[in-house]
């Protein structure tokens, strides 16, 4: 039992080490990627700050400093949300490289989780100077509590796990058809609108907020951000972590079930 747990940890650490070493070589490419991504929250931030100023200083209960804090933390959470995508599964299956992965002794999701987790370490390092520059430019304000920081540190990894599991489950669709871009697009649009990525959820109409509460999206995006800078109460922080735990469990069960059905359909030529 202990030996098997140790070998699991070993595989994760090895995958992480490989990712860190690989990705540190491509610092410029990683920065290009991150700068392209940072444009999105900066746009939202400017638009909503303009709206807040026109309304006398605040919109949806957030003033410009709080909006800045929200969208700066957004940039890290967005990066934590990048996982092995359904498009990656599409490639694996269409090109047959999945055959090789099936020969490995563990479920493929573990290698993906380990690799991307290692990449996150590089991303967090590269993010720190970007966050400093954004803070100088946009003057964020927030009340940060020790409990909020701890919750945030856990929640970003919870978010990473939920999104990895969900995206891989979605990727299982590619075992049946290899052109699923539009299906994914609909999913990503729902996620964009209901996660707190486009706007803080407090800016959405009530009925949208109620729907969002029942879906996994905001627990991977809005919740980690608000845990750090949203002034949530201890009950809200713990409640959010509980929702994350629930979605991790659901995601794991769904992926396990779907994978066992999907993999029977797999066939490849070459690869």
């Amino acid at each position: 039992m202990i030996a098997s747990a140790r070998s699991w940890v070993d595989i994760y650490l090895t995958e992480m080490r490989i990712a860190i070493q690989q990705q540190l070589q491509y610092r410029v490419a990683n920065y290009f990627y991150m700068i392209g991504m940072i444009a999105e929250p900066v746009i939202y931030l400017v638009v909503w700050t303009t709206v807040a100023e026109q309304q006398g200083g605040a919109v949806g209960g957030l003033d410009s400093g709080e909006l800045a804090a929200y969208y700066i933390v957004w940039t890290l959470v967005r990066n934590m949300n990048i996982v092995f995508t359904p498009f990656g599964w599409e490639n694996r299956i269409r090109e047959g490289t999945f055959s090789g992965e099936l020969l490995r002794p563990m479920h493929p999701i573990h290698y993906d989780l380990g690799y991307f987790a290692g990449w996150k370490v590089v991303v967090i390092l590269l993010w720190l100077p970007l966050a400093a520059v954004l803070s100088l430019l946009f003057h964020p304000t927030a009340t940060i509590t020790p409990l909020g920081v701890v919750t945030f540190a856990i929640a970003i990894w919870g978010a990473y796990l939920i999104r990895s599991l969900n995206q891989s489950s979605l990727g299982m669709v590619t075992f049946w058809t290899t052109r699923v871009g539009p299906v994914f697009d609909i999913y990503f649009t729902a996620e964009l609108l209901l996660s707190g990525r486009l706007v803080p959820m407090s800016l959405m109409p009530d009925w949208v907020q109620q729907i969002a509460w029942l879906l996994p999206f905001q627990w991977t995006f809005g919740f980690p951000i608000e845990a750090l800078v949203g002034g949530l109460s201890p009950e809200q922080l713990l409640g959010g972590l509980a929702m994350q735990a629930l979605w991790i469990a659901i995601g794991a069960v769904v992926l396990r079930r779907m994978f066992s059905i999907a993999v029977r359909r797999y066939s490849a030529v070459g690869g």
Binding site: G36, A39, T50, P182, I186, V199, L203
Partner: protein, 261 residues
């Protein structure tokens, strides 16, 4: 002239190739529809809070969204596929095949790939602009219309230059796949008129990444904000950018060493 005839030949071949895959049209329709839907939701959210954003009314911002969609379609149809292929060719050494052809290499790398179904975005862009113009109830004079077309062409040329300048960097930095993310991320700022951004960002979006020229200035022509001086300035800047791009392409090309094509 030769460049235009080459472009038309590649356009025909590209169109013939893609017309074989008609299901892609349905996919493109859905993808473009989703993208426009998201844009409309954001506009609705903003205008549920305020009557006008920094002096731009709802129909005016709808016109901006139309131009954004239209230019995005042009980029996706003509510019992006060529640049992506160029990056791959430099990395794999297959650019050899272009360099051994008896024609201008910059023209060849710029016209050989076409994604014809992205024309959906171009059409959708025109439809949104049409709806916005009806809502504006203004009269778009023939001069405004000409200014709009000219601004659109200049803007597209500048986007092309910007993208080729970045892609040329592939001769030095080999892995450039992320450039697509970088550009599309920055281009998304064009959903809003650049006048809403802080000064430093507006400067960047005008002269470093020509989003202002590509989207805001054509939209200004539609909403009666464009002055002749601004249009002349855009023309001068476009010309300068074309010359710089040409020079940089030649410098970059000298760095190229085909390895294993």
């Amino acid at each position: 002239m030769r460049a235009i005839s080459l472009f038309l030949t590649f356009l025909r071949v590209g169109a013939l190739n893609e017309l074989q895959y008609r299901a892609n049209l349905a996919i493109q329709l859905l993808e473009s529809g989703i993208s426009v839907f998201t844009g409309l939701v954001v506009l609705a959210l903003v205008f549920s809070q305020v009557p006008a954003l920094n002096g731009w009314s709802q129909p005016e911002l709808l016109a901006v969204l139309g131009v954004y969609t239209l230019v995005g379609g042009v980029i996706g149809m003509l510019i992006q596929p060529n640049m992506e292929r160029l990056i791959t060719d430099v990395r794999q050494g297959t650019l050899d095949y272009i360099l051994t052809k008896p024609d201008d290499s910059q023209v060849l790398v710029s016209v050989r790939e076409i994604r014809i179904w992205r024309v959906v975005d171009v059409i959708l862009g025109f439809v949104i602009i049409g709806v916005a113009l009806v809502q504006l109830q203004g009269t778009l004079g023939p001069l405004d219309a000409v200014a709009f077309v000219v601004a659109l062409l200049l803007g597209s040329a500048m986007v092309y230059c910007f993208w080729l300048l970045l892609t040329t960097a592939a001769f030095w930095i080999v892995r450039m796949d992320e450039i697509v993310e970088l550009f599309m991320g920055l281009y998304a700022s064009g959903r809003w008129p650049v006048t809403i951004y802080p000064d430093w960002l507006r400067f960047g979006l005008t002269f470093l990444v020509p989003v202002a020229f590509a989207v805001t200035i054509p939209a200004e022509a539609l909403t009666g904000r464009l002055t002749p001086e601004l249009l002349a300035g855009a023309a001068a800047f476009a010309l300068a950018l074309l010359l710089v791009t040409r020079w940089f392409w030649r410098v970059g090309l000298r760095r190229y060493a085909g390895a294993s094509a």
